[in-house]
């Protein structure tokens, strides 16, 4: 089974801090994604990556950046955390070239910015 591992289940940070959320997948997937999940808003795409060192903006990239130095690892960076970035962050990966765009998700990181 595909395993997508997010480094922290819960994280508490202060406004203005630089925050790193880490995600690792073990199935050699080319594609990796970061979503945030908020009550009543569903999942919204922040950034995604098709390959090492490649990145594409999603629907809500403002205030975030990403890094993909290795195929298995995709990091989400909050340059200067703000309270409106308090949310559940979900990382996902998928195989490139598959018939169905099937995403495999991690368990999420609940980030609280105080």
């Amino acid at each position: 089974d595909v395993k997508v591992t997010q480094s922290s289940r819960y994280l508490v940070k202060r406004t203005g801090e630089k925050v790193f959320l880490e995600c690792v997948q073990d199935m050699d997937h080319e594609n990796m994604f970061w979503y945030r999940q908020d009550p009543g808003l569903g999942l919204r795409l922040i950034y995604f990556s098709y390959d090492v060192k490649m990145k594409e903006k999603g629907d809500i990239p403002e205030g975030y950046s990403v890094s993909r130095e290795k195929k298995e690892r995709f990091s989400l960076i909050l340059e200067s955390a703000s309270t409106n970035q308090t949310s559940m962050y979900l990382c996902a990966s998928s195989l490139d070239g598959g018939t169905v765009p099937k995403l495999f998700f991690g368990s999420g990181t609940q980030l609280s910015v105080l």
């Binding site: 598959g98 995403l103 495999f104």
Partner: protein, 113 residues
């Protein structure tokens, strides 16, 4: 912008009943529509998909229906069980964005025994 949405945020059913979860979408160009299930404390898990050239697909206890005329998608769960209690998301694949999925807002299904 284009988005995938759901008709109802919550749905409550009795164990053994059939459940129908609805979703409306706006982008006629999507290739695939996918349903995900998210249990408490977990990430979303793939349930079933349907390609845009189909109107029905069946899985184990689940059926997805696609009506392209009215841009409507539904997930039917037969003989709903307490373990089906979760948040259900529909998602669409915007072909021009590769495999990135656009998700709806979710429906919380509660099953009482």
């Amino acid at each position: 912008g284009e988005s995938v949405g759901l008709h109802l945020p919550t749905l409550s059913v009795q164990e053994g009943d059939n459940s129908i979860i609805n979703c409306a979408y706006s982008n006629s160009a999507s290739d695939y529509f996918i349903w995900y299930k998210q249990e408490s404390g977990k990430g979303p898990q793939f349930i079933i998909d349907i390609r845009s050239n189909m109107d029905k697909r069946q899985g184990q206890r689940v059926t997805v229906l696609l009506n392209k005329t009215v841009k409507h998608l539904s997930l039917q769960i037969a003989a709903t069980q307490p373990g089906d209690s979760a948040v259900y998301f529909c998602a669409e694949n915007m072909h021009q964005a590769g495999t990135a999925l656009i998700f709806g807002k979710g429906t919380t299904l509660s099953v009482s025994s």
